[in-house]
Symmetry: C2
Subunit: 211 residues, 2 copies
DNA sequence: TTGTTAAAACTAATGGTATTAGTTATATTA
DNA sequence: TAATATAACTAATACCATTAGTTTTAACAA
Protein backbone atom coordinates (compact mmCIF):
# COMPACT_ATOMS: atom_id res chain seq x y z
CA UNK A 1 0.00 0.00 0.00
CA UNK A 2 2.88 2.39 -0.33
CA UNK A 3 4.64 3.35 -3.53
CA UNK A 4 8.03 5.06 -3.50
CA UNK A 5 9.57 5.54 -0.10
CA UNK A 6 12.02 8.28 -0.97
CA UNK A 7 10.40 10.80 1.27
CA UNK A 8 9.02 10.80 4.76
CA UNK A 9 8.36 13.47 7.34
CA UNK A 10 11.68 12.77 9.03
CA UNK A 11 13.71 13.38 5.87
CA UNK A 12 11.68 16.47 5.05
CA UNK A 13 12.16 17.91 8.50
CA UNK A 14 15.87 17.25 8.41
CA UNK A 15 16.32 18.90 5.04
CA UNK A 16 14.16 21.87 6.06
CA UNK A 17 16.13 22.24 9.27
CA UNK A 18 19.41 22.32 7.37
CA UNK A 19 17.99 24.88 5.00
CA UNK A 20 16.73 27.04 7.85
CA UNK A 21 19.90 26.89 9.92
CA UNK A 22 22.30 27.30 7.01
CA UNK A 23 20.50 29.63 4.62
CA UNK A 24 18.12 31.33 7.04
CA UNK A 25 14.51 30.74 7.98
CA UNK A 26 13.22 33.05 5.27
CA UNK A 27 14.91 30.92 2.62
CA UNK A 28 12.81 27.90 3.50
CA UNK A 29 10.25 27.59 0.71
CA UNK A 30 8.53 24.58 -0.77
CA UNK A 31 10.50 25.27 -3.94
CA UNK A 32 13.93 25.36 -2.27
CA UNK A 33 13.09 22.38 -0.09
CA UNK A 34 11.88 20.33 -3.06
CA UNK A 35 15.04 21.17 -4.96
CA UNK A 36 17.19 20.05 -2.05
CA UNK A 37 15.25 16.79 -1.85
CA UNK A 38 15.39 16.28 -5.63
CA UNK A 39 11.64 16.20 -5.86
CA UNK A 40 8.90 18.38 -7.38
CA UNK A 41 7.30 20.76 -4.95
CA UNK A 42 3.73 19.38 -5.20
CA UNK A 43 5.07 16.06 -3.92
CA UNK A 44 5.66 17.67 -0.56
CA UNK A 45 1.92 18.03 -0.07
CA UNK A 46 1.72 14.30 0.51
CA UNK A 47 3.65 14.74 3.73
CA UNK A 48 3.05 18.27 4.89
CA UNK A 49 0.16 20.69 4.72
CA UNK A 50 1.69 23.26 2.41
CA UNK A 51 4.09 25.97 3.44
CA UNK A 52 2.06 26.72 6.55
CA UNK A 53 2.23 23.09 7.61
CA UNK A 54 5.95 22.95 6.97
CA UNK A 55 6.54 25.99 9.15
CA UNK A 56 4.39 24.52 11.87
CA UNK A 57 6.36 21.28 11.70
CA UNK A 58 9.60 23.24 12.00
CA UNK A 59 8.23 25.13 14.99
CA UNK A 60 7.20 21.94 16.77
CA UNK A 61 10.53 20.35 16.01
CA UNK A 62 12.43 23.36 17.33
CA UNK A 63 10.29 23.64 20.44
CA UNK A 64 10.84 19.99 21.17
CA UNK A 65 14.61 20.30 20.84
CA UNK A 66 14.73 23.52 22.84
CA UNK A 67 12.64 22.06 25.63
CA UNK A 68 14.86 19.02 25.69
CA UNK A 69 18.00 21.14 25.96
CA UNK A 70 16.50 23.30 28.69
CA UNK A 71 15.35 20.30 30.64
CA UNK A 72 18.75 18.66 30.46
CA UNK A 73 20.44 21.84 31.61
CA UNK A 74 18.19 22.13 34.64
CA UNK A 75 18.27 18.58 35.92
CA UNK A 76 20.21 18.24 39.13
CA UNK A 77 20.30 21.98 39.69
CA UNK A 78 18.10 24.43 41.50
CA UNK A 79 17.81 28.10 42.28
CA UNK A 80 20.37 30.46 40.79
CA UNK A 81 22.37 27.61 39.38
CA UNK A 82 19.39 26.27 37.47
CA UNK A 83 18.48 29.70 36.12
CA UNK A 84 22.04 30.24 34.93
CA UNK A 85 22.22 26.85 33.27
CA UNK A 86 18.90 27.31 31.51
CA UNK A 87 19.90 30.73 30.26
CA UNK A 88 23.10 29.43 28.76
CA UNK A 89 21.28 26.47 27.22
CA UNK A 90 18.66 28.79 25.70
CA UNK A 91 21.18 31.11 24.10
CA UNK A 92 23.35 28.20 23.01
CA UNK A 93 20.38 26.65 21.24
CA UNK A 94 19.55 29.87 19.42
CA UNK A 95 23.18 30.08 18.29
CA UNK A 96 23.39 26.48 17.20
CA UNK A 97 20.03 26.46 15.40
CA UNK A 98 19.32 30.03 14.32
CA UNK A 99 16.76 29.02 11.71
CA UNK A 100 14.92 26.60 13.90
CA UNK A 101 14.96 29.08 16.76
CA UNK A 102 13.33 31.63 14.48
CA UNK A 103 10.74 29.02 13.56
CA UNK A 104 9.83 28.52 17.21
CA UNK A 105 8.89 32.20 17.46
CA UNK A 106 5.94 31.76 15.16
CA UNK A 107 2.83 32.10 17.30
CA UNK A 108 0.57 29.03 17.24
CA UNK A 109 -2.46 29.32 14.98
CA UNK A 110 -5.79 29.85 16.66
CA UNK A 111 -7.10 26.47 17.74
CA UNK A 112 -3.83 24.63 17.27
CA UNK A 113 -3.81 22.91 20.63
CA UNK A 114 -0.75 20.77 19.99
CA UNK A 115 1.37 23.74 19.04
CA UNK A 116 0.15 25.74 22.03
CA UNK A 117 0.87 22.82 24.28
CA UNK A 118 4.43 22.59 22.97
CA UNK A 119 5.00 26.27 23.70
CA UNK A 120 3.82 25.87 27.20
CA UNK A 121 5.99 22.99 28.20
CA UNK A 122 8.83 25.49 28.34
CA UNK A 123 6.80 27.77 30.57
CA UNK A 124 6.13 24.96 32.99
CA UNK A 125 9.81 24.26 33.17
CA UNK A 126 10.65 27.85 34.04
CA UNK A 127 7.82 27.93 36.52
CA UNK A 128 9.12 24.91 38.41
CA UNK A 129 12.61 26.33 38.58
CA UNK A 130 11.23 29.54 40.03
CA UNK A 131 9.41 27.62 42.74
CA UNK A 132 12.61 27.75 44.74
CA UNK A 133 12.23 31.49 45.24
CA UNK A 134 8.93 31.40 47.12
CA UNK A 135 7.33 34.23 45.23
CA UNK A 136 3.66 35.10 45.38
CA UNK A 137 1.75 33.66 42.43
CA UNK A 138 1.51 37.05 40.89
CA UNK A 139 5.15 37.96 41.32
CA UNK A 140 6.14 34.58 39.99
CA UNK A 141 4.27 35.26 36.79
CA UNK A 142 6.01 38.60 36.43
CA UNK A 143 9.29 36.83 37.04
CA UNK A 144 8.54 34.27 34.33
CA UNK A 145 7.61 36.96 31.85
CA UNK A 146 10.73 38.90 32.69
CA UNK A 147 12.94 35.87 32.27
CA UNK A 148 11.47 35.11 28.87
CA UNK A 149 11.79 38.73 27.78
CA UNK A 150 15.40 38.77 28.78
CA UNK A 151 16.38 35.58 27.03
CA UNK A 152 14.38 36.19 23.91
CA UNK A 153 15.55 39.78 23.62
CA UNK A 154 19.19 38.84 23.97
CA UNK A 155 19.04 35.84 21.65
CA UNK A 156 17.03 37.73 19.08
CA UNK A 157 19.24 40.82 19.00
CA UNK A 158 22.34 38.67 18.90
CA UNK A 159 20.96 36.68 16.00
CA UNK A 160 20.19 39.86 14.06
CA UNK A 161 23.76 40.96 14.52
CA UNK A 162 22.66 43.93 16.59
CA UNK A 163 25.70 43.71 18.86
CA UNK A 164 28.63 44.71 16.75
CA UNK A 165 31.43 45.71 19.07
CA UNK A 166 33.90 42.95 19.85
CA UNK A 167 33.05 42.82 23.52
CA UNK A 168 32.37 39.33 24.71
CA UNK A 169 28.69 38.52 24.37
CA UNK A 170 28.91 35.75 26.92
CA UNK A 171 29.96 38.30 29.50
CA UNK A 172 26.97 40.44 28.60
CA UNK A 173 24.75 37.42 29.11
CA UNK A 174 26.32 36.81 32.51
CA UNK A 175 25.68 40.39 33.51
CA UNK A 176 22.11 40.13 32.29
CA UNK A 177 21.46 36.97 34.28
CA UNK A 178 23.19 38.21 37.41
CA UNK A 179 21.06 41.32 37.27
CA UNK A 180 17.95 39.24 36.94
CA UNK A 181 18.89 36.98 39.82
CA UNK A 182 19.60 39.95 42.04
CA UNK A 183 16.19 41.30 41.09
CA UNK A 184 14.31 38.12 41.94
CA UNK A 185 15.48 38.32 45.51
CA UNK A 186 13.95 41.76 45.75
CA UNK A 187 10.63 40.37 44.52
CA UNK A 188 10.48 37.93 47.41
CA UNK A 189 9.64 40.72 49.79
CA UNK A 190 6.80 41.93 47.57
CA UNK A 191 3.27 40.81 48.34
CA UNK A 192 0.65 40.02 45.76
CA UNK A 193 -1.22 42.93 44.34
CA UNK A 194 -4.33 43.18 46.50
CA UNK A 195 -5.98 46.05 44.70
CA UNK A 196 -8.68 43.84 43.29
CA UNK A 197 -8.81 43.66 39.51
CA UNK A 198 -5.91 41.31 38.99
CA UNK A 199 -5.62 39.41 42.20
CA UNK A 200 -7.85 36.43 41.67
CA UNK A 201 -7.09 36.04 38.03
CA UNK A 202 -4.68 33.17 38.22
CA UNK A 203 -7.01 30.85 40.08
CA UNK A 204 -9.92 31.35 37.77
CA UNK A 205 -8.20 30.93 34.44
CA UNK A 206 -10.53 29.04 32.10
CA UNK A 207 -7.89 26.99 30.40
CA UNK A 208 -4.80 25.42 31.89
CA UNK A 209 -2.73 27.89 29.92
CA UNK A 210 0.19 29.32 31.78
CA UNK A 211 0.81 32.60 29.98
CA UNK B 1 8.95 69.04 -15.84
CA UNK B 2 6.70 66.88 -13.71
CA UNK B 3 3.72 64.90 -14.90
CA UNK B 4 1.05 63.59 -12.56
CA UNK B 5 1.47 64.49 -8.92
CA UNK B 6 -0.75 61.85 -7.42
CA UNK B 7 2.01 60.04 -5.64
CA UNK B 8 4.99 61.08 -3.61
CA UNK B 9 7.17 59.40 -1.04
CA UNK B 10 5.17 60.93 1.78
CA UNK B 11 1.85 59.47 0.59
CA UNK B 12 3.48 56.10 -0.08
CA UNK B 13 5.02 55.99 3.35
CA UNK B 14 1.76 56.91 5.02
CA UNK B 15 -0.19 54.25 3.15
CA UNK B 16 2.48 51.63 3.82
CA UNK B 17 2.52 52.54 7.49
CA UNK B 18 -1.24 52.12 7.75
CA UNK B 19 -1.00 48.79 6.01
CA UNK B 20 1.78 47.62 8.31
CA UNK B 21 0.16 48.77 11.53
CA UNK B 22 -3.33 47.60 10.66
CA UNK B 23 -2.80 44.45 8.61
CA UNK B 24 0.65 43.46 9.84
CA UNK B 25 4.14 44.01 8.48
CA UNK B 26 4.08 40.80 6.47
CA UNK B 27 1.04 42.04 4.55
CA UNK B 28 2.94 44.97 3.12
CA UNK B 29 3.59 44.09 -0.51
CA UNK B 30 3.95 46.25 -3.59
CA UNK B 31 0.70 44.74 -4.80
CA UNK B 32 -1.32 45.52 -1.66
CA UNK B 33 0.22 48.97 -1.39
CA UNK B 34 -0.51 49.77 -5.04
CA UNK B 35 -4.10 48.66 -4.61
CA UNK B 36 -4.52 50.89 -1.57
CA UNK B 37 -3.10 53.82 -3.52
CA UNK B 38 -5.22 53.04 -6.59
CA UNK B 39 -2.17 52.67 -8.76
CA UNK B 40 -0.45 49.85 -10.66
CA UNK B 41 2.41 48.30 -8.77
CA UNK B 42 5.17 49.14 -11.30
CA UNK B 43 4.37 52.82 -10.73
CA UNK B 44 5.79 52.53 -7.23
CA UNK B 45 9.23 52.00 -8.69
CA UNK B 46 9.32 55.68 -9.59
CA UNK B 47 9.42 56.52 -5.90
CA UNK B 48 10.91 53.56 -4.11
CA UNK B 49 13.52 50.97 -4.96
CA UNK B 50 11.28 47.91 -5.10
CA UNK B 51 10.06 45.96 -2.13
CA UNK B 52 13.48 46.14 -0.50
CA UNK B 53 13.52 49.90 -0.80
CA UNK B 54 10.02 50.16 0.60
CA UNK B 55 10.99 48.11 3.64
CA UNK B 56 14.07 50.22 4.14
CA UNK B 57 11.96 53.38 3.95
CA UNK B 58 9.58 51.95 6.56
CA UNK B 59 12.51 51.07 8.81
CA UNK B 60 13.97 54.57 8.57
CA UNK B 61 10.58 56.11 9.20
CA UNK B 62 10.00 53.92 12.23
CA UNK B 63 13.46 54.50 13.64
CA UNK B 64 13.00 58.23 13.28
CA UNK B 65 9.65 58.18 15.11
CA UNK B 66 10.94 55.85 17.80
CA UNK B 67 14.02 57.97 18.41
CA UNK B 68 11.86 61.05 18.58
CA UNK B 69 9.56 59.46 21.17
CA UNK B 70 12.47 58.22 23.23
CA UNK B 71 14.16 61.59 23.14
CA UNK B 72 11.02 63.39 24.23
CA UNK B 73 10.52 60.98 27.08
CA UNK B 74 14.05 61.51 28.37
CA UNK B 75 14.28 65.28 28.21
CA UNK B 76 14.28 66.89 31.64
CA UNK B 77 14.89 63.59 33.37
CA UNK B 78 17.96 61.69 34.46
CA UNK B 79 18.97 58.49 36.15
CA UNK B 80 16.27 56.02 37.13
CA UNK B 81 13.54 58.40 36.12
CA UNK B 82 14.94 58.73 32.61
CA UNK B 83 15.35 54.97 32.25
CA UNK B 84 11.77 54.40 33.35
CA UNK B 85 10.39 57.02 31.02
CA UNK B 86 12.33 55.68 28.05
CA UNK B 87 11.19 52.14 28.73
CA UNK B 88 7.56 53.17 28.81
CA UNK B 89 8.00 55.22 25.65
CA UNK B 90 9.66 52.29 23.89
CA UNK B 91 6.93 49.81 24.73
CA UNK B 92 4.22 52.36 24.01
CA UNK B 93 5.65 52.93 20.57
CA UNK B 94 5.74 49.20 19.79
CA UNK B 95 2.10 48.97 20.88
CA UNK B 96 0.97 51.99 18.92
CA UNK B 97 2.89 51.07 15.75
CA UNK B 98 3.28 47.29 15.73
CA UNK B 99 3.99 47.10 12.02
CA UNK B 100 6.45 49.94 11.95
CA UNK B 101 8.16 48.60 15.04
CA UNK B 102 8.63 45.29 13.27
CA UNK B 103 10.06 47.18 10.31
CA UNK B 104 12.70 48.80 12.52
CA UNK B 105 14.01 45.37 13.46
CA UNK B 106 15.26 44.72 9.96
CA UNK B 107 19.05 44.85 10.13
CA UNK B 108 20.60 47.50 7.86
CA UNK B 109 22.01 46.18 4.61
CA UNK B 110 25.76 45.95 4.35
CA UNK B 111 27.07 49.35 3.37
CA UNK B 112 23.84 51.23 4.09
CA UNK B 113 25.41 53.98 6.17
CA UNK B 114 22.25 56.05 6.56
CA UNK B 115 20.28 53.12 7.92
CA UNK B 116 23.10 52.16 10.29
CA UNK B 117 23.36 55.74 11.44
CA UNK B 118 19.63 55.83 12.21
CA UNK B 119 19.92 52.68 14.30
CA UNK B 120 22.72 54.12 16.30
CA UNK B 121 21.10 57.36 17.25
CA UNK B 122 19.01 55.34 19.67
CA UNK B 123 22.12 53.75 21.12
CA UNK B 124 23.66 57.13 21.72
CA UNK B 125 20.58 58.22 23.57
CA UNK B 126 20.68 55.21 25.88
CA UNK B 127 24.39 55.70 26.36
CA UNK B 128 23.98 59.30 27.51
CA UNK B 129 21.24 58.38 29.94
CA UNK B 130 23.50 55.73 31.43
CA UNK B 131 26.27 58.26 31.94
CA UNK B 132 24.61 59.12 35.23
CA UNK B 133 25.58 55.76 36.68
CA UNK B 134 29.34 56.17 36.39
CA UNK B 135 30.00 52.71 35.03
CA UNK B 136 33.27 51.61 33.54
CA UNK B 137 33.21 51.73 29.74
CA UNK B 138 32.94 48.00 29.56
CA UNK B 139 30.17 47.67 32.12
CA UNK B 140 28.30 50.49 30.45
CA UNK B 141 28.27 48.58 27.20
CA UNK B 142 26.94 45.50 28.95
CA UNK B 143 24.31 47.70 30.57
CA UNK B 144 23.26 49.09 27.18
CA UNK B 145 23.03 45.65 25.65
CA UNK B 146 21.02 44.41 28.61
CA UNK B 147 18.63 47.33 28.42
CA UNK B 148 18.01 46.74 24.73
CA UNK B 149 17.52 43.03 25.31
CA UNK B 150 14.94 43.69 28.00
CA UNK B 151 12.93 46.17 26.04
CA UNK B 152 13.05 44.33 22.76
CA UNK B 153 12.27 41.00 24.34
CA UNK B 154 9.30 42.34 26.21
CA UNK B 155 7.91 44.34 23.30
CA UNK B 156 8.45 41.51 20.89
CA UNK B 157 6.84 38.80 23.03
CA UNK B 158 3.95 41.10 23.84
CA UNK B 159 3.41 41.82 20.17
CA UNK B 160 3.35 38.12 19.35
CA UNK B 161 0.68 37.62 21.96
CA UNK B 162 2.98 35.43 23.99
CA UNK B 163 1.59 36.72 27.29
CA UNK B 164 -1.89 35.36 27.51
CA UNK B 165 -2.95 35.48 31.12
CA UNK B 166 -4.90 38.58 32.11
CA UNK B 167 -2.27 39.87 34.47
CA UNK B 168 -1.42 43.47 33.85
CA UNK B 169 1.43 43.75 31.39
CA UNK B 170 2.31 47.23 32.55
CA UNK B 171 3.03 45.83 35.98
CA UNK B 172 5.31 43.22 34.44
CA UNK B 173 7.13 45.99 32.65
CA UNK B 174 7.54 47.87 35.92
CA UNK B 175 8.96 44.79 37.59
CA UNK B 176 11.29 44.27 34.66
CA UNK B 177 12.59 47.83 34.81
CA UNK B 178 12.89 47.91 38.58
CA UNK B 179 14.91 44.73 38.41
CA UNK B 180 17.17 46.25 35.81
CA UNK B 181 17.66 49.43 37.80
CA UNK B 182 18.52 47.48 40.91
CA UNK B 183 21.04 45.56 38.85
CA UNK B 184 22.75 48.63 37.43
CA UNK B 185 23.66 49.77 40.90
CA UNK B 186 25.44 46.49 41.44
CA UNK B 187 27.46 47.05 38.29
CA UNK B 188 28.84 50.31 39.63
CA UNK B 189 31.10 48.42 41.98
CA UNK B 190 32.45 46.24 39.20
CA UNK B 191 35.72 47.16 37.55
CA UNK B 192 36.51 46.73 33.91
CA UNK B 193 37.59 43.30 32.84
CA UNK B 194 41.37 43.42 32.99
CA UNK B 195 42.08 39.95 31.70
CA UNK B 196 43.40 41.22 28.42
CA UNK B 197 41.56 40.11 25.34
CA UNK B 198 38.60 42.44 25.57
CA UNK B 199 39.83 45.33 27.64
CA UNK B 200 41.19 47.72 25.07
CA UNK B 201 38.60 47.00 22.47
CA UNK B 202 36.41 50.01 22.92
CA UNK B 203 39.16 52.54 22.39
CA UNK B 204 40.47 50.98 19.23
CA UNK B 205 37.24 50.47 17.36
CA UNK B 206 37.84 51.28 13.70
CA UNK B 207 34.48 52.84 13.06
CA UNK B 208 32.50 55.16 15.30
CA UNK B 209 29.92 52.42 15.69
CA UNK B 210 28.52 52.01 19.14
CA UNK B 211 27.40 48.40 19.14
C1' DT C 1 -0.52 80.58 -26.82
C1' DT C 2 1.95 76.66 -28.24
C1' DG C 3 5.64 73.30 -28.56
C1' DT C 4 9.20 70.76 -26.04
C1' DT C 5 10.56 67.87 -22.46
C1' DA C 6 11.23 65.23 -18.36
C1' DA C 7 9.26 62.22 -15.55
C1' DA C 8 5.11 59.79 -13.65
C1' DA C 9 2.11 56.21 -14.57
C1' DC C 10 0.89 52.94 -17.67
C1' DT C 11 0.71 48.13 -20.39
C1' DA C 12 2.94 43.95 -21.50
C1' DA C 13 5.94 40.38 -20.53
C1' DT C 14 9.02 37.36 -17.64
C1' DG C 15 10.15 34.45 -13.96
C1' DG C 16 9.43 33.06 -9.32
C1' DT C 17 6.22 31.43 -5.77
C1' DA C 18 2.27 28.34 -3.67
C1' DT C 19 -1.40 25.56 -4.63
C1' DT C 20 -4.98 22.39 -6.85
C1' DA C 21 -6.55 18.83 -10.05
C1' DG C 22 -5.81 14.97 -12.27
C1' DT C 23 -2.47 11.26 -13.96
C1' DT C 24 1.20 7.81 -13.63
C1' DA C 25 3.81 4.53 -11.38
C1' DT C 26 5.03 1.36 -7.74
C1' DA C 27 5.43 -1.11 -3.26
C1' DT C 28 2.65 -3.84 -0.60
C1' DT C 29 -0.79 -7.22 0.13
C1' DA C 30 -4.24 -10.53 -0.99
C1' DT D 1 0.32 -12.69 -10.04
C1' DA D 2 -3.28 -9.19 -9.75
C1' DA D 3 -5.42 -5.45 -7.13
C1' DT D 4 -4.93 -1.41 -4.57
C1' DA D 5 -3.53 2.47 -2.08
C1' DT D 6 -0.71 6.22 -2.37
C1' DA D 7 3.70 8.62 -3.46
C1' DA D 8 5.32 11.39 -6.94
C1' DC D 9 4.38 13.26 -11.11
C1' DT D 10 2.64 16.79 -14.96
C1' DA D 11 -0.27 20.55 -16.07
C1' DA D 12 -2.60 24.53 -14.97
C1' DT D 13 -3.92 28.64 -12.16
C1' DA D 14 -3.19 32.62 -9.49
C1' DC D 15 -0.41 35.84 -7.13
C1' DC D 16 3.86 38.21 -6.50
C1' DA D 17 8.09 41.28 -7.88
C1' DT D 18 10.48 43.12 -11.46
C1' DT D 19 11.96 44.99 -16.13
C1' DA D 20 11.25 47.04 -20.68
C1' DG D 21 9.07 49.97 -23.35
C1' DT D 22 5.02 53.18 -24.20
C1' DT D 23 1.79 56.82 -23.14
C1' DT D 24 0.48 60.81 -20.81
C1' DT D 25 0.86 65.20 -18.63
C1' DA D 26 2.60 69.05 -15.93
C1' DA D 27 5.89 72.59 -16.27
C1' DC D 28 8.76 75.50 -18.79
C1' DA D 29 10.54 78.13 -22.96
C1' DA D 30 9.59 80.19 -27.16
Amino acid sequence: MSPRIGLDLRAILQAATELADQQGYKEVSLASLAQKLKVRSPSLYNHVNGLTGLRRALALHGLSQLTSDLTSSAVGRSGDEAIRAMSLAYVAYARRHPGLYEATLQAPAEGDAEHKQASQVTLGLISRVLDAYQLSDEMKLHAIRSFRSLLHGFASLEQQGAFKLPLDLDVTLQVLIDTYLAGIVRLQSMPANTEGTQGEVLKHAQQPEED
